[in-house]
Amino acid sequence: MKAKLAAHRPLRPYARWIPLAFLAPHLLVFCCFNIFPILTGIFASLTKWTLGEMPQWVGLANYANLLTNPESIYYWQLRWGLLNTVKFVVFCVPFRILVPLAFALVLSSKCRGHKVLQACYYLPSLLSLSVVMVSWLYMFDSNAGIVNTLLGLGKFRWTTTEPYNWIALIFITVWWGCGGNLIIYQSAIAGVSQEILEATSVDGANAFQRCIHITLPSIKFPLQYTIITSVIAEFGIWGQPDMFNGGGPTLEVVNGVNHQSNKMLMQYIAESGFGSSGVNAGVASSMALILGLIIFAVSMLQFRAMRRGND
């Protein structure tokens, strides 16, 4: 009875603000470091801005230039940058999922030396990008690289030969980023019911069948999560190609713009938005916003497809 009365006691006028007070610190940080930069980015995309001067309002001119003006270098940069980025995402993400998954399945068997193997697989994730790229650049070096020596490839040029530059880039990215997903899969696999696995063994299922019919469906949610985060992460690819070959060899030249094999949209954005000269933060912000919208749309599609699959 007392509890019932307490439940119906009218709230004091300030009580409704109490949750907000608890949320305020997070909201403040969120507004400062998320909402404000997003709004600034949107505003910048509608201006002509060299950073050093006040931005000049140009409305949708940057977008019109990027999307409809083939005479502009930025039109081709957006087009080719996006094409290369999508290509990278399509070819890289499956390996970013399958390779750590395979490792996680192997490690879950608790084979001999699995702790050492786990450390080896995870170790690259702890390295900074520059360390990773410098190391692999030496290994892929055409003159004295260990890769060419081991494979007997002579002076093969990994950085400028299609499609091997892509293979090298994807290999380095997967090697570097394997650890994060590996940990997620390992912990998910550890949670798979041993009783069910044993029961299916007793019923005669082999290891492959157990993996396909029990383990993988049981870790469906972590898999979905890693697919989405990997896609988002790979859309932001920038450092690897920038340090590996600066964007790679020229494939074609259109209207005075050279289409480089591995040059990603983020590289073009960074080039336009920062640097020692010719800063065009308005165009860079427009390109960034278009990329952001594409990532958002792809993520939504993935969420939708997954929700449908879960129903």
Binding site: I73, S142, N143, G247, F274, S277, G278
Partner: protein, 410 residues
């Protein structure tokens, strides 16, 4: 008596307390430079020596790579407190920085300290133009980072002793030495390696065309024929196998004595000194033996950001610039062609390889507001025309188109 002693003691104590308060306040200033390599170590040593020589001034040297320096400056312009008291970048940035309002004239500051004597005639003759914009002095030069070519003396004596008789190498001579090496069946030594596409191509282009800008320095006027000719020359030598192979590191080739010549900047001299063999520094290959060889160069210069200065800060900046002038020989050890005439005339400097370059060649640095844009586009285009992935004509168009659109956006 006791009273008198107490009074005297009190006065003495008060006086002791007052002395530190009356002493001059310490001054801290900051200097941003783009010296992040070996030259950064040398600059830091000079700064340390300067700080040690000062009673109350402390200079902090912040080395920032070129691209970040420009971004950092642009962002700091909105907050005076974030700006350094002085920064060092290329003198060709002056017109652009004046237009953007980033820098202020140095004349008032220099005039305030006549004892330091920053008279322009105390500096390399080129400073009379490079330090001025629209008749106003905007910077004080440190040195002239210049593009040239290092020669492995032993290899040159072995394979082409006649080429160096006039201390100048032409493209015809490069081709002749290349052909000769191939005839002799020498496979482990190339004639020349180009270590930086941008400066190599600019040097060749300027040798042919003289400039890339209109007379007033505001409009891009690339000579497409000269670009194509420069590229074709490099490509011909590359295709003939006289140069490096794609993927090879030119400086490593030179270090391993796999090439006779390697192009490089004066700033590479410290590193090349470490290779352990005799070398000289001359102009890159020229198209004609008749003219004075041209080297593409620029000038590092002290500039003052647009901000207010206290009297102490002004003094500290002027005092360091003066110290640097007086101690430019330390800077020259890193391979620099110094701006200080006093240093340039010293015996110690005259014995350095760059002294020969400074006296015998002309340094080309066209006056153009957007030089940096032009250079950055070249950096992006790399050696693609020499490697055959673009035609020289496409390369020339790309250079023009990309630079022009970026200029238009400014």
């Amino acid at each position: 008596m006791k009273k008198l002693l107490t009074m005297l003691l009190t006065i003495a104590m008060l006086a002791a307390l007052a002395v530190p308060a009356m002493a001059e306040e310490p001054v801290s200033i900051e200097m941003w430079t783009l010296f992040t390599g070996d030259d950064g170590t040398t600059m830091q040593a000079i700064v340390d020596a300067y700080n040690a020589s000062q009673d109350r001034v402390t200079l902090t040297h912040v080395a920032v790579d070129r691209e970040n320096l420009y971004t950092k400056l642009a962002l700091a312009m909105s907050d005076e407190a974030a700006l350094p008291e002085v920064f060092v970048t290329y003198s060709y940035d002056v017109p652009n920085f004046v237009g953007l309002g980033y820098i202020q004239p140095v004349e008032d500051l220099l005039a305030a300290y006549p004892d330091f004597d920053f008279a322009i005639d105390k500096y390399h003759d080129a400073c009379a133009t490079l330090n001025y914009y629209d008749g106003t002095r905007y910077c004080v030069s440190l040195d002239f980072p210049t593009w040239g070519m290092y020669v492995n003396t032993a290899l040159a004596e072995q394979y082409c002793p006649e080429v160096l008789e006039d201390n100048s190498v032409t493209w015809d001579e490069i081709m002749a030495v290349g052909a000769s090496l191939q005839e002799q069946g020498v496979e482990d030594v190339s004639v020349m390696a180009g270590s930086w596409d941008r400066n190599d191509l600019l040097n060749s282009y300027l040798d042919l065309a003289g400039t890339y800008a209109s007379e007033d320095g505001t409009t891009l006027e690339l000579n497409k024929d000269a670009v194509v000719e420069a590229l074709n020359t490099w490509k011909t030598a590359f295709d003939a196998g006289y140069l490096w192979e794609e993927g090879e590191d030119p400086m490593s080739m030179f270090a391993l004595e796999e090439c006779i010549f390697v192009t490089g900047g004066t700033w590479n001299m410290n590193a090349i000194n470490e290779y352990g063999f005799d070398f000289t520094f001359i102009a890159p290959p020229q198209f004609s033996a008749d003219d004075t060889p041209t080297l593409f160069g620029a000038s590092h210069a002290f500039m003052l950001p647009t901000r207010s200065y206290t009297e102490d800060e002004s003094y500290a900046v002027a005092s360091f610039m003066h110290y640097f002038y007086e101690h430019s020989i330390d800077w020259a050890q890193a391979g620099s062609i110094v701006a200080s005439k006093a240093t340039a005339e010293s015996e110690e400097y005259q014995a350095m390889p760059q002294a020969f370059v400074a006296e015998n060649y002309s340094i080309s640095n066209p006056n153009f507001t957007y030089s940096q844009i032009l250079f950055d586009v070249l950096d992006g285009l790399d050696w693609e025309a020499v490697y055959g992935r673009m035609t020289p004509e496409e390369y020339a168009d790309a250079w023009q188109t990309q630079a022009q659109e970026r200029i238009n956006a400014q």
